[in-house]
C-alpha cells in the first residue's frame, strides 16, 4: 500500500517512491477511516508518492478544508491510500539517498550493518 511513503523514510518526512510494478485493488470504501487518516498524513509526501507511481490523478497540491464532508475527495484519497499498491519498486530516503526495495508489495526497511 502506498501508505508508508506518507509516513516513512529514515525517520524523515518525505521519501520518494519509485515503482516498476503497481497494482490497483478494489477495497471497500470507508469514509470515516479516510477522514481520520488525513490529519495523520504528510500531504505533500502523499502527493509526491502518488505522482512517483503515476497515480496522482487529480489530487490537489494542498489539502482542501472541510474534507470530511467531501465524499468525492475522500474517495480519491481512499484510492491512493488503500487501493494503489506498489508491488515492485523502491522508497528513497531524501537525506541519504538510500533506497529501500519493495518486493511483492512489502518494503524492506532493514539497514545493513555498516549503515546503522
Amino acid at each position: 500500500m502506498i501508505q508508508n511513503s506518507g509516513r516513512s523514510g529514515c525517520l524523515n518526512t518525505e521519501g520518494e517512491v519509485h515503482a516498476t510494478e503497481v497494482k490497483v485493488n478494489e477495497v471497500e470504501f470507508n469514509p470515516q477511516f479516510v477522514s481520520r487518516m488525513i490529519p495523520k498524513l504528510e500531504w505533500s509526501a502523499l502527493i509526491q508518492a502518488a505522482e512517483g507511481v503515476g497515480h496522482r490523478q487529480d489530487l490537489p497540491d494542498t489539502l482542501v478544508s472541510n474534507y470530511e464532508n467531501d465524499e468525492d475527495f475522500l474517495h480519491k484519497v481512499h484510492r491512493v491510500l488503500l487501493e494503489v499498491e506498489v508491488i515492485e519498486g523502491s522508497l528513497q530516503c531524501p537525506e541519504s539517498g538510500r533506497e529501500f526495495p519493495i518486493s511483492k508489495g512489502v518494503p524492506n526497511m532493514l539497514l545493513n550493518e555498516d549503515e546503522s
Binding site: 500500500m1 506518507g6 509516513r7 477511516f33 511483492k104 526497511m109 532493514l110 546503522s116
Partner: protein
Amino acid sequence: MALHCGKTCRQYLLHLAHDSVDFRLPELKALLALRGRQCDPSEAFREKSPFWRLCGLLEEDVRSVMSRTVCGKSAFELWGHGRTAAELKSSLLEYPIEKMTPFLQEESTYKINVYTFNKTLLFKDRIEKIDALGFLPFKGKVSLKDPDHIFCLLEDYGLDPNDIPEEPFHIYFGRWVADGQRELIRSHSVKKRHFIGNTSMDAGLSFIMANHAKVKAHDLVYDPFVGTGSLLVACSHFGAYVCGTDIDYNTIHGVGKASRKNQKWRGPDENIRANLRQYGTESFYVDVMVSDASKPVWRKGALFDAIITDPPYGIRESTRRTGSHKEIVSPPEDFSGESHVPVSMAYHLSDIFADLLNFAAHHLVMGGRLVYWLPIYRPEYCEEMVPLHPCLSVISNCEQTLSSHTSRRLITMEKIKEPEKSDVLAHLADSRFSPYQGHNSFREKYFSGITKKNGKGTQESCVYLWLR
C-alpha cells in the same frame, strides 16, 4: 457503573467463562470505557466468581459489551437473586411487575434454562427448580425451539470442584439479553488458520488483547513484531485498519519452513494478508514491512490508535536487531529471499521494552493504548519490574502462567501526555524506568530451569539466536 451495588438500580448479570480469569475485569473495564462508562467494583465484588452483577448501565451498554467480550458467556437482565431459594423468591416478588409483563405476554413463547456452576444436576432436579418458579406470572407458551424470550436460573456452587455443597451459595434469575463472542475462539482458531508460525497468538488471547487495547472501528492499529499477524486478525475483526512490521523477512513474505507438523515449506497462500482474507477482513489490511523495531522508520507524530504486540522472548523465536557486533552470524539455511538480510545481533530484552514504550509514547494518539506481553521469571518477579514511561500510565497487568517458574504478563498502558525532550532521558535518570535491566537473563533463567532437569550444560552464545 458499579459492580455489585445495592438493590435499587436496574441490574444485569454477567455470566463469565472460567478461563483467563485475571484478564476478565480489565476486559470489561475497557469495553465499558468504549461506551464512556466507568466501572467501580464495590466491596462485595468477588472477582473470581463466574457471576458479576452490573448496575448503572443501559441495555445498549450491555449489548455493546457482549458484542465484543470473549471472557463473557452471557448477559441477563437480573430479576432476582439470593443466597437461598427463599431469598430468590422474595427478591423476585419485589421486582416491579410492570418490568416483567412485557416479556410474559400470552401470545409470546418462552423457555427457562437452568445453569449450575461447579455442579451437575439430574434432569429431574432441574425440572423441579423450574417448577418452583411457578409463582411468576408467565402467561405465554413454553417453546424449547426458538422461543421469543429465554430466561435463566443460574446457581453458583462455589469455586472448589473438590468441595461441592448440597445447596448453592447464590442463585440468580434473569431474562437472557445477549451472548458474548466466545464462538470467535473456535471460528478463529489457529489450528485452522492458513498461515501460522511457531509463536502465533492463540485466538482467545488475541481478541482479549484487542479488547484491552480498546480497539474500535476505523482505528489504525500497529504491531511492531507482527509475525504471522494473529493480533491483526483480531483487531481487523473489530473494524480496525491494521499494519505490522517484523524483522524476519521469511515471515513477512510468507516463505520458508512451515510451522505445521506435516508440512515442510510454506504454501503460496500463507502470508498475513491471506489470513485476513480467510476471515473476510482483507479490506482492513493497510501494510506490512520488513523492519527492525529498534530502528523505527515512521515519521514523527501520533499515528496509531493502538499498538498491540507480542515481542519475542528469545525462547521460541530469536530476539534480534540489525547492527554490527562481534559475533557474525549467518542467516539460517532456510532463508529463501533475494534481499540482503543484515547481520543480527542480540536484542536485549530490556532494550526491547524500553524501545517499545518509547515508540508508543511518540506514536500513539493521546489516550491510545499499548498492549504487550512481558515474559517473567516468577521466583524473582516484583511489580517494580514492569517497565514505566512518563508518558504512559499502566492500566492493567494480567498474568498467564506458562510453567512453574515462568509466566507472561499482559501489560496495558495508556498514553497520558505528549513526550518532551526531558522524557527521553528519564529512563537514564530514574532506575524505576528501566527496572527490566538484567531481564535479558530471563532467557538464561528459563534455560537453567530446563537444563537442571536434563543435567546438561548450556552454551550462551549465538546458539540462542536461531533457537526455535
